[in-house]
Amino acid sequence: MIFRGRFRYGQPLYDIFARNIGTVNHNNTGLSCVHFGTSLIARQTETIATRVFNGFVMKHTPTEPPTKDTRNPVAAMEGRLGSGLGALIVLIAVVAGWIVQRDRAARGRAEAALLESEERFRILVGGVQDYAIFSLDPQGTVVSWNAGAGRIKGYNADEIIGQNFSCFYSPKDIDEGKPEADLQIAAASGRSETENWRVRKDGSRFRANVVITAAHNSSGRLLGFSEISRDITERKEAEKNVGQMESRYRGLLEAAPDAMVVVNHTGEIVLLNLQAEKQFGYRRDELVGQKVKSIIPEGFAERLVADGTRSAAEALVQQIGMGIELYGRRKNGSEFPIEIMLSPLESPDGILVTAAIRDISVRKNSEQHLVNTVGELKRSNDELQQFAYVASHDLQEPLRMVASYTQLLAQRYKGRLDSDADEFIAYAVDGANRMQRLIQDLLAYSRAGTNGKALHEISSENALKEALTSLRAPIKESGAVVTHDSLPAITTDETQLAQVFQNLVGNAIKYRSIEIPHVHVSAMKNGGNEWIFSVRDNGIGIDPQYFERIFILFQRLHGQEDFKGTGIGLAICKKIVEHLGGRIWVESQPEKGSSFCFTLPERDGQ
């Protein structure tokens, strides 16, 4: 409803109306038409104005604009207000109305703002999902409930409002009076914060961080409490895991046999173990916070940091199989060779690098020692080889002269000098001849196994045939019968194998008994990857005590009168067989024949 009236007015009145009541329409009569709005203050003004002007009421006009009719009563009123008293009354009424109106308006605005902010707050709190937020009356009865509380505790608002909040506590806590105690603390100190097990509607438990805040009015009376709680079960679990991991990591660190140093991205040592203290001669607290290059000298520290912190993934790739050999520096300045393995470690402070540092002084020394020894051995071996070859070769020249000329002497002058001369010459010739054989054998021995030819798959049967061809004369002379099984193809050196067969079969014929020599050659596959060859005879046999000795260079069991020879054959066999990767041995008993056996490894053909 719109009230409209006309007043004669001055500036103050205009201000009052214009600001507080409604719009003022000017017209050329000097009066203004006041449009009362629908606001509270407008209605109030109308009420007051109606009371004040009782009897000569302002014309109530519905929404239609001013007309001739509506203007008349106003003009009439105008006339009555002509007196000063009337004017004063009107003024007082209007001012009083305005004051009442102003207070009411202010209160209304504050009420509206409060309502609005309460609403906002309610929406805000109500929507929070991660926190259970609810209020309690002073006795602990739930009076409000948000979505988060519903989610966390499992109750709907209508289920829980009106219930005592102690149902959130475990029976044990309830027995111990925890709910009351928490409220008392909050009431007394304004606030209580606890971490505790809480119980959901379904009885399951969760770890909660709970803050209870007491609410007092301005006069200090306890109005109730608000409780904000949060499910921190996962966080607690995570903390526990981290704690466990950390203690495990530290345990590992300390148990490690190597010095372990954990370095951050600026190259500072953040952690180290007992071994590191021992190796570098520092106390732990002396090293933590120090640059790693104080214990691992210049140049490497940068690399360590660069490699270690580039990225966890790359660093991981880096550390696989990567041993870096460098030097560590002790507190006393001495250095020692170390081997380092790096591995990245992600941490809240960025990537850390765990360096496992092994003191390899002992290993280095023994490696060096081994290298030296092997080198010396090789040199001495080479020298010996060279010596044997050169000696036998060079010895041969003068010996050839001695032998040739004693032989010439024997041929030309036998029987032309006296018998002593013949005998002396005979000894000289014999000695020279034997010396020649020894030298030739030595030469053969020094060459055996050293031809360095690539190995090929050959027929061991062919090698045997080759040997038998060389032995034609003694076989024929002795009437020996040499038989063999089918012999395998094998990757080895045919010439050298033939040499071994020749020496073994030759010996079998040479060291024969009174019987016609029977020699049998066979081969069988060992369980492993090798062939066992055997040359069995029916000869004089060998006393087991000499089994080792017969394979030694120039060692003989018989005098030259019984069996000629220098004692080279088996030594050469042993050298060749071992050079080809096998072993050689004899099985025998005196007068019961011998079996000479040797193995040759099976290799892939080349």
């Binding site: 070769h393 041969q396 020249e397 010996l399 050839r400 002269m401 032998a403 040739s404 000329y405 032989q407 010439l408 041929q411 001849n433 020649q436 030739q440």
Partner: protein, 153 residues
């Protein structure tokens, strides 16, 4: 059938390049029984052998040999160099060269043949073997084989 050179009128000229007097003597002994008349000339080292072949110094009147017996291990200039120089020389390369040495090394054998040695013989270590070898040389190179005559002076 076979034309024999080395009759009394035209003896065979053999140059033995050998530093061991013992071997020189043994060679002489062996040639004593030769079927042909042999003039054995001796050079004691490689340098002297080249002087002989080039008729230098005291060898100014040296004959051109029909056969050269060459040891490999020699003082001053060794047998391998001598062989190489002979076989590179247009005038000397037709002279057969028999390597007669103690070396049985594969390397020496191969190298000698690559330098066009006509044959390679390792000196046998015993007397009879040695005598047989020299007689074989006598028999084969000086009797059986037809040697070039065109360049003889």
């Amino acid at each position: 059938m076979m034309e024999l050179i080395g009759t009394d009128a035209t003896p065979i000229e053999v140059l033995l390049v050998e530093d061991s007097p013992g071997d020189v003597r043994l060679t002489r002994e062996a040639f004593k029984d030769a079927k042909v008349h042999i003039n054995l000339h001796v050079a004691q080292d490689g340098a002297e052998a080249m002087d002989f072949l080039g008729r230098v110094g005291k060898h100014v009147n040296a004959p051109r040999p029909d056969l050269i017996l060459l040891d490999l291990n020699l003082p001053k200039k060794d047998g391998r160099e001598v062989l190489e120089e002979i076989k590179e020389s247009p005038t000397l390369k037709s002279i057969p060269v028999v390597i007669l040495t103690t070396s049985a090394s594969e390397t020496d054998i191969l190298r000698s043949y690559r330098l066009h040695a006509n044959c390679y013989i390792t000196k046998p270590v015993d007397l009879n073997g040695f005598l047989n070898v020299v007689r074989s040389i006598d028999n084969f190179w000086l009797s059986v084989v037809k040697l070039p005559r065109e360049a003889r002076s």
